[in-house]
Symmetry: C2
Subunit: 406 residues, 2 copies
């Protein structure tokens, strides 16, 4: 089975919507060992849908289409696909009923005509129920060519893909692929690649996906023994770096480690300006473990809220090891937290000097009575530098938590 | 001129990298009145590059290619394009010199052979200098078909596009299109559409791009008079909502309005957990205006850092109008800020009740002596709800700043 992705919608080409469906579908497919051959973004025009299907089916036998299933005039996906397959559109009573019910639960009066139009489906197609929107999904298979039509909004596409598409794709995998996914923190992609390489062979392959603070490693094979062997190798190579199952990010893992030890965390951020607190509180349930913190951008706030001494600010400056230490000890003392993080540095583009260049940062992490201080230099633009600072600080706390368990 | 985009790289199809180049190129092209016909993501294989160019050039005359220009073995873009055009690769001394210089400034010793390979360019091509990386860009034009090859990393692609591609595309626009871009805050996309519709006609068209907290409106026409007329209409319809030129986000505009009035800002965030501070400090130079703030996730921090009274927490609860008021007045008093924001609510998915459901939030904004309190209800997942809360709070402060100027 070879798969192409076809994303339909003017908004993708005018830059107003980033195509996150491509990233979602790509990574989910990779997890079952399927690597999409190509992806296309096209405009809401029937002519474009036809030529795109020509091209996609010249390279593949299965196309996942997203977008253009809604009730408005520019939603032409179903008609375009039906024409390409040479089948008529027919109204399906069960789809019509589902749409009327969907409308009734959210609006008053009867569903308008253009809404009911969503119940028109290419003849011979299977309906994929939409639990989160009005437009039904569609699966059509003819002459060895298979197409899945999915709604564009990720909140509708993702559950429909999991429930109705993934199981059907798996049925078609001749010799079911065995895969394993590892989320690795604190090691770079190329280092993982170098260390893992001796353990691979033509029977088992590895793919890497790097995102800020984490590398996803996928192992793919048709041989269960190989998968077990390689999983053991990953476990011993990266014992401290692999996140446990169900944990999908570094901040989530830090919160898990803290919660296991019944510890409370607080933060004192200068140059990251709330980024670390924002990442921690993005995790549901973080309020059980994260007390909060201070964004001490101005020096007066460092003194007032954290007890940083005026002398330190005058003699060493706000971007200094001493200031990071006073910040982390201050926030721990003021909040009673067991663990604390402080960050003070220069994110740029302005504010740097020869002595203290853009990218310089001091990180403090306090765990119980022990305080660790780190000086780092990061490259990149303001956004990247701030992200790397935040990641480094969370990594340091994670390492100290892991050590403290031993 | 018709344009297609072709993005090359395995990482785009396996979901590890979101294709932000597509969104960048799409929105920049739209600003000069060009609407890409289609976009493609393909893998790093010469065969794929060839069939993708067949398809793209069957629909368009200009293709912007990104990715696969680097020094490693899977960088095959130049070879694939040269083969498609039927021209040989030749080593260009000026490109080789630039690469050797790039290496020398960053590493010791001589540049390795595979790096120098980047100086091999399709015959007859023009070199586009890369100010931020080693791989040169390329422009090749033959038989009415034009291709631009750009490096994949956005930090290299974006400046090269602005400096070397955009001016060349503009030369080819037969009847130059006139465009205007407006960034509108505090009004939804459909409301803008409804209000603007009577002012449009076949000579002038509007395109909308909505992102959290802002809608970008593009006007496109070949008639300068029409553009002036419509620009005036936008100005009078959305006088308070259009951001001034050069201001690209709501947090940046809030900081601008504060700086103009020489006011200082502080924040007290509960459920948004640092998101507002993070958005403000993402703006370069924010340290001139933003003092910092407190992320008071736990009630003890609300009391200790902000002076929220125990009585309020016991009788009204942390998610209450009274708590929002004490938070905003507390942070202003403790920091001496002229303006302050507070947010306390339930971001979900847990923590809601019949009386105080997920999505409920109280926002406080203090400007000088005046405090405004707002109760809002937001829908969506945790991430969306937190983003909407942050946007609403910044909007409220912006409105109060605009009013105070009158």
């Amino acid at each position: 089975m070879n798969i192409a992705l076809l994303c339909i919608g003017d908004e993708l080409l005018k830059g107003s919507t980033i195509n996150t469906n491509l990233a979602f579908l790509g990574s989910r497919l990779l997890e079952i060992g399927i690597y999409p051959e190509l992806s296309l973004e096209i405009r809401d025009r029937k002519e474009d849908i036809r030529t795109a299907l020509d091209y996609a089916f010249s390279r593949t036998d299965t196309v996942l289409v997203s977008g253009g299933l809604g009730p408005t005039a520019d939603d032409l996906t179903k008609e375009g696909v039906a024409e390409w397959f040479g089948v008529p559109m027919i109204r399906r009573p069960e789809a019509e009923q589902a749409i009327r019910n969907y409308w009734k639960n959210r609006h008053s009066g009867c569903a308008p005509v253009h809404w009911i139009r969503q119940a028109e489906i290419p003849e011979g197609a299977e309906i994929l129920p939409n639990g989160f929107g009005s437009a039904p999904g569609i699966h059509l298979e003819r002459g060895g060519k298979s197409v899945f039509l999915l709604p564009g909004p990720p909140l509708e596409l993702q559950p429909m893909f999991e429930r109705s598409v993934l199981p059907r794709l798996k049925e078609h995998l001749d010799n079911p692929v065995q895969t394993a996914l590892f989320r690795i923190v604190g090691v770079g992609e190329s280092e993982i690649e170098d260390l893992l390489e001796p353990h691979l062979n033509p029977e088992i392959s590895a793919a890497y996906c790097a995102s800020p603070g984490m590398v996803k490693l996928f192992l793919t094979t048709r041989n269960r023994k190989e998968l077990e062997r390689c999983t053991d190798a990953v476990g011993s190579l990266f014992r401290e770096n692999v996140l446990p199952p169900g944990i999908t990010s570094l901040p989530q893992d830090v919160l898990r480690l803290l919660a296991e030890r019944r510890l409370f965390l607080a933060t004192a951020e200068s140059c990251t300006g709330g980024l670390i607190a924002g990442q921690l509180t993005a995790v549901p349930g973080s309020s059980e473990t994260f007390l909060g913190g201070v964004v001490s951008y101005a020096n007066e706030l460092k003194m007032r809220f954290l007890g940083v001494s005026q002398k330190t600010l005058e003699t060493e400056g706000a971007v200094s090891r001493k200031c990071a230490q006073e910040m982390v000890e201050g926030i721990a003392a003021k909040t009673g937290a067991d663990a604390a993080i402080s960050v003070t540095g220069i994110a740029g583009p302005g504010g740097g000097s020869a002595e203290k260049p853009v990218g310089l940062v001091y990180i403090g992490v306090k765990l119980h009575a022990r305080t660790t201080l780190l000086e780092c230099h990061f490259q990149g633009g303001r956004t990247q530098i701030r992200e790397r600072m935040a990641t480094k600080a969370l990594h340091l706390l994670r390492s100290m938590l892991m050590e403290s368990a031993e």
